[in-house]
Structures are given as C-alpha cells and as structure tokens.
C-alpha cells in the first residue's frame, strides 16, 4: 500500500488524513526529514501559509521538502499548500518552496465574508467538483510548463506542473476524493 504524507506543522491535517483513509492508501503525518523520506507522495494542507512556512524554516524542513519535490515525489498543495509550492507571491515576503512556476495572489477573493463554495468544471474530471474556497488565493501568472485545470473568472484555481498539483480550494472539506486520487495516480 502506498504511503502518503501530510505535512503536519499546522492546518487541516486531520481532514486530509481522513480523505486519504478513504482512498486505500496509508496517510501519515510528516513533521521531520526522517518521516518525509519514508513517503511515496505528499500533501501540503490548508492552514496559514506564513505559519507553516516559518515553522518549516525553523525546524529545518524547507530544504528537505524542496529536494524531495525536485527529486520527483508527487505533491499536492491545497490553499496554503499552493502558496508554499509557488515561485512567488504578489505581496510580502514569506518562506516559499518555489517549485511551482506560478505567481500567487494571497487572499485574492477577499476576507472571510467573501469565502464561498461553488461547483467547478475541472479538466480531466467528468462531473463538476464541489469546491470550498476559504480566504483563498488565486494564481496571477503561470509559467510555460504549467497546465491550468480550473479557473474562476479567468483566474486559475487549479494547476498541474509534472507531478506537482495545486488547488486554491479545499477538497478535504467537501468529501470528494477525486483530486486526491489524481495525486495517488502519479505515484
């Protein structure tokens, strides 16, 4: 059985583990380079990207994560996870992995009062996907190797670049495992 890690520095780790549990893989929390080395794929959850990034730097996880992803470990980032994967953010200065060739705008849809849920068309999925957006980012600019799989008002909210997958929204909150399955299929 494949083992899929969830980066467990902060955020909705439990929801991702529950989702993985339904998909016939073993979900494990990843907090150290040793546990990271033992996974076949990785999820970077929703949470506060500044908090997760700072903790990753302080506890020596940023470089091991970058090396693992560049070495071909499939990764899926949701919301804060998407931000951490990105090459840069439009404003501010925060630790990023810089493995996904996109520029991300944080809190792009607004504050919490503008958080929303909607049904989304996604390239490669037959039926619409119920997507939950919470103070979500969108992608402002994509590089040449990045495939846009879903957009809202022309702003990309789901992208893929090789084995790196990222969404602005939270499938783990809506109980639909199809995007997690896309990650598992690349193992």
């Amino acid at each position: 059985m494949s083992r899929v890690g969830v980066l467990a520095l902060q955020g909705d780790v439990r929801e991702h583990l529950a989702m993985l549990g339904h998909l016939d893989v073993e979900g494990v929390e990843v907090r150290t380079p040793e546990t990271l080395a033992a996974v076949d794929a990785l999820v970077i959850p929703g949470g506060e990207s500044t908090t997760i990034g700072k903790l990753a730097v302080r506890f020596g996880m940023l470089e091991p994560l970058r090396r693992a992803i560049e070495g071909g470990v499939p990764v899926y980032g949701t919301c804060a996870g998407m931000i951490l994967l990105a090459g840069s953010v439009t404003e501010g200065d925060q630790p990023l992995l810089g493995v996904l060739d996109v520029v991300v705008r944080r809190n792009a849809f607004g504050r919490q009062n503008e958080s929303f849920e909607t049904d989304l068309e996604i390239t490669g999925l037959d039926d619409k996907f119920h997507a939950v957006f919470i103070r979500s980012p969108w992608i402002e600019k994509v590089g040449g190797d990045v495939e846009v799989l879903a957009s809202i008002d022309d702003h990309p909210v789901m992208v893929r670049q090789g084995r790196i997958l990222a969404t602005s929204f939270h499938p783990e909150l809506a109980g639909d495992g199809r995007i997690h399955q896309m990650l598992i299929d690349t193992i």
Binding site: T50, E91, N113, F116, I134
Partner: protein, 293 residues
C-alpha cells in the same frame, strides 16, 4: 457562489488548527504576532490583564484600531463583541473581520441572551466552561468554540478544569444508549440533535481551542495534550518581558506539543513570563469565565 455557509464558517477554524491566536492592541503587536507565526490575531483595545486592572465597562474596540490591525497583517483578524451585543457584532461584520468573538472578557450587554449567530455571514467563536454551554453556543450558530480559562491571570488552572469537564462529558455521552440521550440533553441543557452528534463522534462538531491563562510554552503544550486543537494567548505574550521570544516559543510548543525535547528547547532563556494571579484571590465579580451561561 454561496457565502456565509456553515462549511465556510467552520472551515476557517479548521485551517487555524494546530496554531496560536494572539491578542494584540496595535499594528506593531500584530506584526510581531504574524512574524512569530501566529495563525490569526485578536484585535483588542486592551489585553485582559489591563481590563482587570482598569475595571469599568469593557467594550468592542474602536474601528480605527481594528482597521489599523487589518492593514498591518495578512493573517485573519478577529475582534470581540460583548455577549448579546448584536449591534457591536454587526459593526464588526461591516468592518470585515474574519471571526467575531462573543466574549466574556468584555462586559456582557445581555444577561439572558447571546447573539443569534446564524443571522451573520461572519463566523463566531464563543467561550464555554462545559459541554452544555458549548452546545448551546453551537446551537445559536457558533462556528468555533474556545474552552474558557480565567483570562488575564496567567494561570491555566481554570482552562484545565474546563477542558477536562468538556472531555469527560463528551466521553460519557459516547457510552450511552440512544434511549439515554434525551435525558442527557435535558441535564446538559443542550440541543438534542447536537447531543446525538457528540455521542456518535466523541467530539464537538466545530473546532475547539483553549483560551485564558496560557502564559508559557509548556502551558500551550499542556492545552494541546488535553485535546484542544489550538490555543488563544491573551496577555501571556505582550505582558511578558520579551514578547517576540514568547510568541515564537508558544507557536513552536503548540506544533511540537508531544515532543518534550522541543518544548524544553524553546522554553530556554525566555525571561519573565507575565505576572500570575492566584484564582482564589479574585472576588466573584472579578471572575470573567462565569459570564454568559
């Protein structure tokens, strides 16, 4: 596109899990909190220790102050309204705060009723001392609970008492037969439907943080070990001798609460924690956790 749904309200609290929410009174403190790794800040006029000291009626913060803090950071900004003061809550919603804390730390505006939180787009967090109180607040629409400690004392004893009470009461429900749940709901004075949910899952249907009295990294680790999902720190940071160091250490201890080596490491050489108060020395009128019902 649907906004203000249960799922997006409760969902933001899910994103804050494993994190620390810090009380701040100005933009500088908010930036220190964000830099230390806080997942959100609570915008206040005065921290609870100062509310205790100054006395008088404690109210919602000045909107200028809240906006100043919103403009200083990218993490969520919460703000407090008085219990039952729905007009203050509407102002906070209009300001676009990310969470409204209907809080016993401010002077209650209504001794009988809490705010009808279903009527709002902005989610609410409310305090609770026991399971019945938590489920009544969720019944009124709260999307997050914080177990009440005694705010502004630097003493965790009340937070520990109330976390243990909630856990014990939840555990008891999970052992009951279905026929016992209606009388349990009566005894807890809690909505029957929510009692059934807790009996089935063994946990609250919303995220539960600890609050009140947390002053050190080890205090935060204790809260997490007792089963809460994150920590509010009020006076503990900016009433310590070195706020940057305390803020950072409490964030790190909250993530690595079950690794004592890390908690030991981050606890070293922090300087003086905030001055503490013995709960027994407080007059009944000085105890905040008992406000609300």
């Amino acid at each position: 596109m649907d906004t203000g749904t249960d799922r997006v309200k409760r969902g933001l609290a899910e994103m804050l899990k494993g994190g620390v929410i810090m009380d701040v009174v100005n933009a500088d403190q908010a930036r220190i909190a964000e830099e230390a790794g806080a997942v959100a800040v609570m915008a206040l006029e005065r921290v609870p220790a100062d509310i205790r000291k100054h006395g008088g009626v404690a109210r919602m913060a000045d909107p200028t102050k809240i906006e100043e803090i919103q403009n200083a950071v990218t993490i969520p900004v919460m703000a407090k309204c008085r219990i039952g003061h729905f007009a203050e809550a509407l102002v906070l919603q209009a300001l676009g705060v990310d969470y409204i804390d209907e809080s016993e730390v401010l002077t209650p505006a209504d001794e009988e009723h809490h705010v009808d939180k279903w009527a709002f787009t902005t989610p609410f967090v409310c305090g609770a001392r026991n399971l019945g109180e938590a489920l009544r607040r969720i019944g009124e629409g709260a999307a997050m609970i914080r177990t009440k400690g005694e705010a502004g004392t630097g003493n965790v004893v009340e937070a520990v008492r109330h976390i243990r009470t909630v856990s014990n009461e939840m555990r008891a429900l999970t052992t009951m037969g279905d026929e016992q749940l209606m009388s349990a709901a009566r005894d807890l004075a809690a909505p029957y439907e929510l009692v059934k949910v807790v009996a089935a899952t063994g946990k609250l249907p919303v995220v539960n943080f600890a609050a009140g009295g947390v002053a050190t990294p080890a205090d935060a680790a204790l809260m997490m070990a007792l089963g809460v999902e994150g920590v509010f720190v009020g006076s503990g940071i900016f009433k310590s001798s070195d706020p940057e160091a305390y803020a950072r250490a409490i964030v790190e201890a909250t993530t690595f609460w079950n690794e004592p080596d890390v908690v030991a490491k981050v606890s070293r050489g922090l300087g003086e924690a905030m001055p503490g108060l013995e709960i027994g020395t407080l007059e009944a009128t000085e105890r905040l956790a008992g406000r609300g019902w």
